[in-house]
Structure formats: structure tokens, C-alpha cells
Symmetry: C2
Subunit: 240 residues, 2 copies
């Protein structure tokens, strides 16, 4: 399943936790015991534990041990949230018919005013792309995206209609490495009323994000605006 040793240990421990193997103590075996159990070094065991910590499954407390977190109702909701650009549709009980409608795709030069808003240099050649996400015949979200032309090369409507990320993964010689975003609730504007199935609502959720490639360059800036009551975004925070 996993060739990396610490990844393998991580998976086994996660499964064992899930199966309730440590329910009595609510503690993982000590690192020393895990070293023996998996015939590995302590560093490797600690890497596996790090993964569990990052995921919110355990915390480790010096002098006490590695403690399994109590179950939360938020866990289930936040599970496999990868479905739709990091935000998860609430209507996932039925198989979704997700359609992407391309409203506009054009080439632009980044203006002085636009530049600070999207973190692209002035005069950069870019694609401007506007898309609506229609789920089960409701327009639940739309995106305004900017892509740097010199990084993504050629974009056309058929690529934009399918997955641009698939296109990047399969056809381009860089990788998508990280994403910075902020999240807001805003009053709806004219475009929102035109594009979205807002019903009586007069607000939208807004996610504004920059996406980086494996050279540390921003190649995409996207503003996603989505209707209320349909999406959730999972968060996890470690204190200290």
C-alpha cells in the first residue's frame, strides 16, 4: 500500500485507532514500543506520529504519551472534503451531476489596478476565465480565475470546461504545490444575482486564493463565490 516506511506505520496506526485497539488507554504505545513493533528507528516512528497529529487524530504530550483525540461530530463532516476545490457540497447524499459552464475566456494584460489584487505583475500576459458550477441544475458557485500565460501556456474552452488541474498534471511540466486562501462572507453583487441560484439570499461566500507551482511561482488567482446553505469548509488548528 505504501512504500515509505513511515507512511506504512502511519496507515497501520490509523487503522488500529479506527478499529478501537487503543480505546481503553486512549494512548498509543510509547515511541520506544512502536520502534520495536515496527522494527524501525525512533525518527521514523515519530514521522508517522507527525502525520497523525497533522490530521487531528492524536496529540502528543511530553511525559504523558501520544493521546488519541476524542471523536467529534465535525470529523465525519470534514472527511474527504477534496471533492470540489477544497469546499464540500452538502448535498452529497446523491451522486452529483456537476457541470462547468464557461462564461468567458480571454487573454488580458494585467493592469496597474488589477496587479495588487491578484498578485500578478503589471503587464503580465494572463488568461481571464469565468466559470459557473452547476450542480443538479442549480448554479451554486462561480469562479473568476486568472492564469499566468507563460506558465500554463495555452488554455482553451475545452480544457476550461474539463479540469484545468488534470491538464496541468498530464500535459505541463510543473506541479501544483500549495495554495493560500482567505474566506469571507460578502453582500451579493449584480454578477452574483445574475450568475447564482441565490433564491432569497443576498449574501455569498467568497474564497480568494493563490495557487503556487513547484518553482514557488503564483500561476493562478481565483475568486470563488458560492451560495449560502450548500457548502462547508473544514478547518483544523493546532495550538502551540
Amino acid at each position: 500500500m505504501a512504500q515509505k516506511k513511515f507512511d506504512n506505520i502511519y496507515n497501520i496506526l490509523k487503522q488500529e485507532i479506527y478499529d478501537g485497539k487503543y480505546n481503553e488507554t486512549k494512548l498509543l504505545p510509547t515511541e520506544e514500543n512502536l520502534v520495536k513493533k515496527f522494527d524501525s528507528s525512533r525518527n521514523t516512528v515519530r514521522q508517522a506520529i507527525k502525520l497523525l497529529k497533522d490530521e487531528g487524530v492524536v496529540i502528543s504530550v511530553k511525559g504523558r504519551g501520544v493521546i488519541i483525540l476524542e471523536k467529534s461530530n465535525l470529523d465525519q463532516i470534514a472527511l474527504n472534503f477534496k471533492s470540489f476545490d477544497g469546499i464540500k457540497s452538502l448535498s452529497s447524499s446523491h451522486p452529483l451531476s456537476i457541470k462547468t459552464k464557461v462564461i468567458e475566456l480571454k487573454e488580458i494584460k494585467v493592469s496597474e489596478e488589477l496587479s495588487p489584487l491578484i498578485s500578478f505583475p503589471i503587464n503580465e500576459d494572463a488568461f481571464y476565465l469565468e466559470r459557473i458550477r452547476v450542480i443538479n441544475n442549480e448554479a451554486l458557485a462561480y469562479d473568476i480565475s486568472y492564469f499566468k500565460k507563460d506558465i500554463v501556456g495555452g488554455l482553451n474552452e475545452s480544457i476550461a470546461k474539463e479540469s484545468i488541474y488534470e491538464y496541468i498534471k498530464n500535459s505541463l511540466n510543473f506541479k501544483i504545490m500549495s495554495k493560500k486562501a482567505i474566506l469571507k462572507v460578502e453582500s451579493a453583487n449584480k454578477k452574483d444575482y445574475n450568475n447564482l441560484s441565490l433564491n432569497e439570499s443576498n449574501c455569498v461566500g467568497v474564497i480568494e486564493s493563490n495557487v503556487y507551482n513547484d518553482f514557488g511561482q503564483i500561476f493562478e488567482h481565483t475568486i470563488t463565490r458560492y451560495v449560502p446553505n450548500r457548502y462547508i469548509i473544514p478547518l483544523f488548528e493546532q495550538i502551540n
Copy 2:
């Protein structure tokens, strides 16, 4: 400043990056060179780099190096976002007058219906607390919180009016370790209209969170509902 060696290295590197020392290459020195520079082991250097990665300052690519991320307009906004329960007020140009108004504080027994909603066991003794956050005379957010009585002990109105977290930190024998949350946009309900300065808006942002102590126990469940156009929540995601 920092007694931990890797913390010290992290701070120095972050400052150097900020000062533009590596602007030409957009690369940190190789790990081997950092080992020499800081007279440390490679593991220690890698821990420092790990901190920079977690913070979205660099990415590391095998065979290429540790790459400094291009600056994003979202960085500045997301900076020091610790101000208000993890969400940052947009009106931070002036010093804020944040007041907390306690609406209700009572002891309850968790019912069968409530239990799955807040991840507290049925019949658990808990405090129910309702508070409004008034910022510059506007009611911008309110919280409904549940605290496990056997963990937080005694809560009273004067504690609730000030910071409960300060009370925990100073007076109780456990630590706050992690927080799981989800974020939604919802239509406003009656309570929202009563409690918040919604103006014309008919939606609210909702953050629902569980907070853990250093025994892995959930001791708090809070639902925060806040007005549109006033808050942002920063997000950061590493791919792979």
C-alpha cells in the same frame, strides 16, 4: 529569543528571507550549507525548514532545493489573524473597542437530541453560554458555547465576560491543545436578526468548533455566527 536550536534557525532564516537576502536565487542555501552555517545536524536544519513550510514561506523540491514562495497579496491580509478566535476583523485600522455581553449562562444536562450535535455524551453536565461580541458599538458576532462542567469546573458571568481561555490557562490544570472547526454560510434565523447588526443582510457566517484539552477530551463546543463583510478567515493548504 529562542532557546530551541531549530526555532532559532527558523527565525534567522525567516528574517533573512524577509530582508531579501535570497532574492536573486529564490532559493535557501542547501541543507548541507545550512548545517555548516548553523553548526548543527541536518535533522535540526530540516526541522527549521519544516516550520517555514508549514507557514507557507517556502516549499522544498527534491533535487532542486528549498524554494522561497513568491509574495501574495493574501499574505498581508492573513497576517497576525489571531485577534478574535481565529477570525480577523477587517476594521482593524483603528484600535477596537471589543466588548463581550453575556446573554445567558446556565447549567444544563445534555439531551439525547443535543448530544450528537455538539459531541458531548448524553446526560453530561455542561454550561450553556450565550455571548454577543460588540465591536465599536456594532454587534458583529455572537457565540453559543457548551463547556463540560467536569473539565472546566466553575464558570461564572465575570469569567465569561472576560476571557475563558485566560481563566483556563491561569487557573485550571489542563492546556488547550487543538481545535476542529467547520465553516458555513447560512441564512439568518430569528436569533441572528435579534442579536446581530445585520443591516440589510439576510445571511451569516457560521463557525462551528470543538476544542480539545491535553488529554484529548473535547471540553468546548462553540457555534459562532457573524455578520457579512466584516471578517476574513485565512487558509493555507499544502498539496502532497
